[in-house]
Assembly symmetry: C2
Homo-oligomer: 121 residues x 2
């Protein structure tokens, strides 16, 4: 087993699309995912998984049903299971997510944004 | 339940000691911990937990038995369970850790550095 560090800027440089998380690490049945967001995602929730969003570069708005939270570089937000949310990014933003390996990006919804098999990066 | 973002710089500004992780978030039986490192920690390993170290500011060396990896801001390292490691920081470094709630900082060892009950921050 080779233990190597992950340089986030190198990984993000390889990501050319939006809303398509890549797996950058795995531990304790959890995954570290990297994605770029731009534009509006869809309203969704995860029945059984809490999700963490840590912004590495840029800023996005997490819309909840009762408020909107702006999350910028150096800030993170945890969305508990069951809570409806919709990420919206006016400009490109680099986001690191921590969540169980079982988490599907669109939660209980299935559409063209859904990614079941994530690439490793 | 109140959903609020965490601003890492605000949290780290409240930490005045070293090697004493605080809990900044919890999800999926995992915890997000924040700590400042400075100096040499001890060799240890975790029998059942993988550990992630993401550097927010500064740089440290993770010594393994067969090599040393320098981890700097914007980089992360996962230490798989069972692997002996020792973090060493020449200068103060801000580190975010992600690991199961059961993880004790000194692994299977118990000494003056051991922290069983972590404060929330």
């Amino acid at each position: 087993m080779s233990i190597e560090k992950i340089i986030l800027s190198e990984k993000f440089a390889q990501i050319g699309d939006f809303w398509n998380p890549r797996i950058a690490g795995e531990l304790n049945q959890q995954q570290v995912k990297l994605a770029k967001f731009k534009g509006e995602f869809i309203w969704h929730h995860h029945e059984h998984e809490d999700e963490l969003f840590l912004v590495i570069d840029g800023s996005f708005q997490m819309e909840l049903r009762d408020k909107t939270i702006t999350v910028s570089a150096g800030e993170f937000l945890i969305i508990p299971r069951g809570v409806e949310h919709r990420p919206v990014a006016r400009e490109e933003v680099q986001v690191l997510m921590f969540e169980p390996a079982t988490t599907v990006n669109t939660g209980g919804l299935e559409n063209e944004l859904t990614r079941h098999r994530l690439e490793k990066i």
